[in-house]
Amino acid sequence: MTAFNYDIFPDILKLNFDSDILGLMVLQRKRLVVQIRKEALLEIANYFLDELKYRFIIASGMNADYGYDIIYHFSDDNTGYMINLMVSIDEKKPEIESMANMISAADWIEREMHELLGVKFINHPNMTSFISGENWESEEHPYARPPRDNKKSPRS
């Protein structure tokens, strides 16, 4: 595969996915963060994995004011670029389509994020407990954000 031209990366993304792209940040040292609509995750991830042959590194789930953010990290090993697809999930409907049917590497991390944060991954092939074992209440998600009125206390 020839090296991807990152100078025209925003244009290519816009051309292919247009309204699914909500924002794009170019950070230093070959790092890009692309904010996308969560409904378009599988289509865009498929474009990176199948067409551009990127490697799925991992996903990072985190709390946000409105619910959750998940960043899916992809690596272009030919150039050292890292593309990060960021999706926002509303706390009222904390669910997103699973990527595990597309790539096995997403299996474990989605189960982990489900257990720790409480995000539901729709159509995951094996959504069983992963790190908490059987001695954990399935409704308890230890890293989930506390209720909104308990704002994070300032760090000392």
């Binding site: 790092r31 074992g133 954990w136």
Partner: protein
């Protein structure tokens, strides 16, 4: 903090760094299915780091892995320097690279020893671990510790390697080269090792891509990925070296890749020492005042593959989110492909081939009957039958 943090503490070997329970479901001699349970030693490090300052986190992440204790601080430092746009002095780049490569040598030697033990070559085990001591002695001399060296900080390293130590390290490199030749010959020329490891535990290129496997596990299947080469950091772009790959896809190929990588590490350290001697002593870090809000994506090539750290900062002195992905997280998942269909006597070496910090696993691998679900063997039995198979092969040759 108001955040409610509940951390499940596992029952199995909480002092080990990577406990997992593997359940091999067997039909006669053949492994038909594999299951695992993990999280028994979940320490909540990602959450814990949200309560630590950026500088304290180095000491936490250093303890994620007990063998390669520099790979996590390296990836974390790369992530933080990306957020803070921090430049690192050349001398610190060389010191970081030297420490990381010394660690690769001792980690690979440890693996060679364990692999020898599982195959019934206890002499290889004792040799490899004896030669590993030479590297640990150097660590003790230059950092004060045999492991957990506490060398990294944002903007450079915590302490210099004075030029007077260059000769000590070079002497060690000269002494270890013939030892590596010995181990390479012992492994690559032994017909019994060939019989035990060739065409065993095959991982195709497609398997590697599907599971996102990294490091020697991927390179042994012909996939040329190495963060040091693909996304160069520290002094790796300043020295000459090559990425070792093999197309064997089996256990033998993984051993070959690791053995040959140690020569590259020796060469990298040698070049770094020469270049470091030309830099100014004492200039080993740039002070960092504050870290702005932003994202940092750091990675480093650990002995087992790519370590990935993601840090989200909010302008305070600790991270808002810190995600860590160790290479074993993606490598271990490949067992689903490499173990199934193999004989149970080969299962031990296949599980060991990805180097999943095996000291934990050997006590917790169990074999179950495929139909009744009854436990038929434990980890020690698995090693025993693996060693027995080698013994029988030796008697035949």
């Amino acid at each position: 903090m108001s955040t409610k943090t509940v951390i499940p503490i596992g029952p199995y070997h909480p002092l080990q760094e990577e406990p997992e329970l593997f359940k091999l479901y067997c039909e006669g001699e053949i492994v038909r299915d594999i299951e695992w349970e993990t999280g028994y030693n979940h320490r909540g490090i990602e959450k814990l780091n949200e309560t630590k300052t950026f500088d304290q986190i180095f000491f936490v992440v250093e303890r994620i892995c007990g063998i390669c204790s520099t790979s996590h601080p390296f990836a974390y430092a790369n992530a933080m320097e990306e957020v803070g746009r921090v430049e690192v002095p050349d001398r610190a780049k060389y010191i970081r690279t030297i420490i990381a490569e010394l660690e690769r040598i001792h980690s690979h030697l440890l693996w060679v020893g364990l692999a020898g033990h599982f195959l019934g070559y206890n002499t290889v085990f004792m040799w490899a671990w004896k030669y590993r001591e030479m590297v640990l002695d150097i660590f003790e001399k230059v950092t004060g510790n045999r492991n957990n060296y506490a060398m990294f900080r944002i903007g450079g390293v915590r302490r210099d390697i004075p030029n007077v130590h260059i000769d000590d390290i070079k002497k060690m490199l000269d002494a270890i080269r013939p030892k590596l030749d010995l181990l390479l010959g012992a492994v690559l020329d032994d017909p019994v090792i060939h019989a035990r490891t060739k065409k065993v535990g095959i991982l195709t290129k497609e398997d590697i891509i599907d599971y996102g496997a990294v490091g020697p596990t991927a390179r042994a299947s012909g996939i040329k990925i190495d963060v040091r080469h693909d996304d160069p950091y520290a002094a790796y772009p300043l020295v000459n070296w090559k990425v070792i790959t093999s197309t064997g896809c089996d256990v033998f190929a993984k051993a070959e890749v690791r053995l040959l990588e140690m020569y590259e590490s020796v060469s990298i350290i040698d070049q770094c020492l020469d270049k470091m001697s030309l830099t100014k002593e004492g200039s080993f870090y740039n002070p960092v005042r504050e870290i702005p809000a932003g994202f940092g994506f750091g990675r480093a090539e650990a002995p087992r593959g790519e370590v990935f750290h993601f840090v989200k900062t909010d302008g305070s002195n600790s991270p808002a989110r810190h995600k860590v992905r160790a290479p074993s997280y993606v490598n271990i998942a490949t067992f689903k492909k490499s173990c199934i269909g193999q004989t149970i006597s080969d299962a031990t070496i296949i599980l060991a081939a990805v180097d999943p910090c095996y000291c934990c696993t050997e006590r917790m691998a169990f074999a179950y009957d495929y139909y009744s679900g009854k436990q038929i063997m434990n980890g020690l039995d698995l090693i025993r039958i693996s060693q027995q198979k080698t013994k029988e092969l030796k008697m035949k040759t």
